[in-house]
Symmetry: C3
Subunit: 271 residues, 3 copies
């Protein structure tokens, strides 16, 4: 059997042992699988952020990859541990909305609640199920276990509404869902949503106290310090500052409202 | 021979080349071993912290794993480089106390001073023995080298007293030895030490100006902002804040005293 | 064919998916190659810093390693994507100076512009060529592709002058090019440059308002708080503070001037 890949997305950071321990648990069960760090610096308890990162990353991995997401403020409570099968990938983690981006994108998918304890570690803590449940389950899946063996199929997984901007006849009201390391403000307005709305009309994108009237092709466009709107590498509308940091310029954070409006020539800056 | 795993715990961070260079040295000597990052954000020169992380992580890795720990403020001085063999694992690093948690936990163990230069890089710097000594030694061990070939056995390794709280008839005086990314204050009081002391008696856990009288089962218990005591995933007594950051609430740091006292009904909050 | 290694140096940090996505692209094209994180916390747009890290790291990796460097403020502009072959290693990234340390060190080398789109992802964004160009090219190289298949050879790559201090008859005028996690100030004055200049003469190294008159052998020398000059593990002149942080003591940043001067006995502290 070919080597399987297990990716990790967590809010564990790099100064604790948590991510390393998960790797140990996985490699003890399947020494030949390849564990790939995707992101461990998700904001603590940042479920939406984890879902955003996952949604942008998983399509680039090979079929058969197992993606483990552990951003889990409800660990030890009654929130369900699940495995999701979609588009040839498997996803393992808590049922708290972290898989929203996968649910919104994929057509056929199957979700199973993890209840079969024979695939967990023998002793399950109430504080670290990444180690005790998700890592061993991922390892067993990488050895060929069928997801259906892990528990019953469920049809009501938690889906966040963070990735669904409000669209009306004359505007899209979205928000900043992620701010990357460069200070770029990434919104929940997809390229497709934006283009369906604007078509050939003139438009204004308002963020904080500023308005942008065009979408640039790349970061290098414009003059030093210009505020740019462009589509991120994963096709979300993004606000960026030429050779600078849009977050610091605008003093905005996650959740900040972004409004796209149709506008008339000569009045586009006056929203 | 099956693929061997080498784990890395360092205070090198992720913005310098130091950890990457160690991986290069290892892979040049043994291209088929698997190098696993456990933690590189140990506080600079944080020997106790490194030992804490190692102690929590190594038991979850497969037998035969080689753990390299490089937190080494005395690099280039007369502190000894060592390899420790215990419980089927090997540990490579400086003899400055980083292996304390292994020494305290394991029964039979053997420590060898690294003196056989044929397993080092040809030129040994006085500033980066992670690259010049520990990485190549780990790689040779992963190829099957017997630890006894590296130097003579020693019986007096450095053992820190940080993991040994003071226990008297009516109290345990411990301290915060680690603060994790979520602001949880993790103490050097183990579950076993705590339970042996408290048995069925009432108790008070005092940290800074606050007192907690019960041990919770999971982070989700209590009300928003409550201070919780619970056992960490590695069975250390831990102070946590429900959906918050205990470190910021209490304004305490590593080394802060934690006292567990027996108390009488009605007087448990008045320590 | 033996397993090939691909290393990554980027300014992507660990909280976005960017580095993880590059790993996905690589592993989809070549599931058996080994992807090694060298450093992802390069300062945003820190081309000189990336080149410094690369220059210190690559010589320790096995022959045949492919090093991908993505610090790319000009992404989407006309800056050329290139592959460099030198000393048995391959280097993939933008032609913006990130490979300066390799060009300065290696004799025979060949640089090719990446123009053959059959080795890129089908759709090339203007914001993330690490994913769309550099990762797939590195994967194809790891499968045995000849660099010459990727485009025509060029002879005018960008070379930064940051690694070339000004040397005159009586002084070397260099600068701080990197500050590591421990606050050590690493300069662009190499051990060889320094020794050729000072030979057996007395010298003074001036940084900010302080002067150091000798080069120490290791960090542990001197008294607590002493400012030390020594050679870094990669043989650059470095200013360090005994058990402390030279950056914070001196309040200096990257680019700070460092001057080495010949001096007469009794007058070495009076520059």
């Amino acid at each position: 059997m070919r080597q399987r890949i297990i990716t990790l997305i967590t809010d564990f950071g790099e100064r604790d042992e948590y991510a390393g321990v998960m790797k140990g648990v996985i490699l003890r069960l399947n020494p030949s699988c390849q564990v790939v760090d995707v992101a461990h610096q998700i904001s603590p308890q940042g479920i939406t952020e984890a879902s955003f990162i996952l949604g942008n990353a998983y399509p680039y991995f090979p079929q058969g990859t197992i993606h483990v997401v552990v951003v889990d403020p409800g660990v030890g409570s009654s929130r369900r541990p699940i495995v999701l099968s979609a588009d040839g990938h498997l996803f393992v983690g808590p049922d708290n909305g972290v898989f929203t981006t996968v649910y919104l994108k994929e057509g056929e998918k199957h979700t199973f609640e993890l209840t079969n304890k024979q695939y967990f570690l023998p002793r399950i803590s109430s504080t670290f199920q990444g180690r005790d449940v998700f890592a061993p389950v991922a390892a067993h899946l990488s050895l060929g276990l069928d997801p259906g063996e892990l528990g019953r199929e469920i049809s009501d997984p938690v889906i966040l509404d963070d990735f669904t901007p409000e669209i009306s006849r004359n505007q899209i009201k979205g928000k900043v869902i992620h701010i990357d390391r460069f200070g770029n403000l990434i919104t929940n307005i997809s390229r497709q949503t934006f283009i369906s709305f604007t078509r050939d009309k003139r438009f204004a994108i308002r963020v904080a106290y500023l308005v942008v009237n065009r979408v640039s092709d790349a970061y290098y466009e414009g003059k030093e310090g210009d505020l740019l709107a462009l589509f991120s590498s994963s096709d979300w509308l993004e606000i960026s500052m030429k050779n600078g940091n849009a977050k610091e310029l605008l003093k905005v954070g996650k959740g900040e409202e972004i409004v796209v409006t149709e506008c008339e020539p000569g009045r586009c800056g006056l929203l």
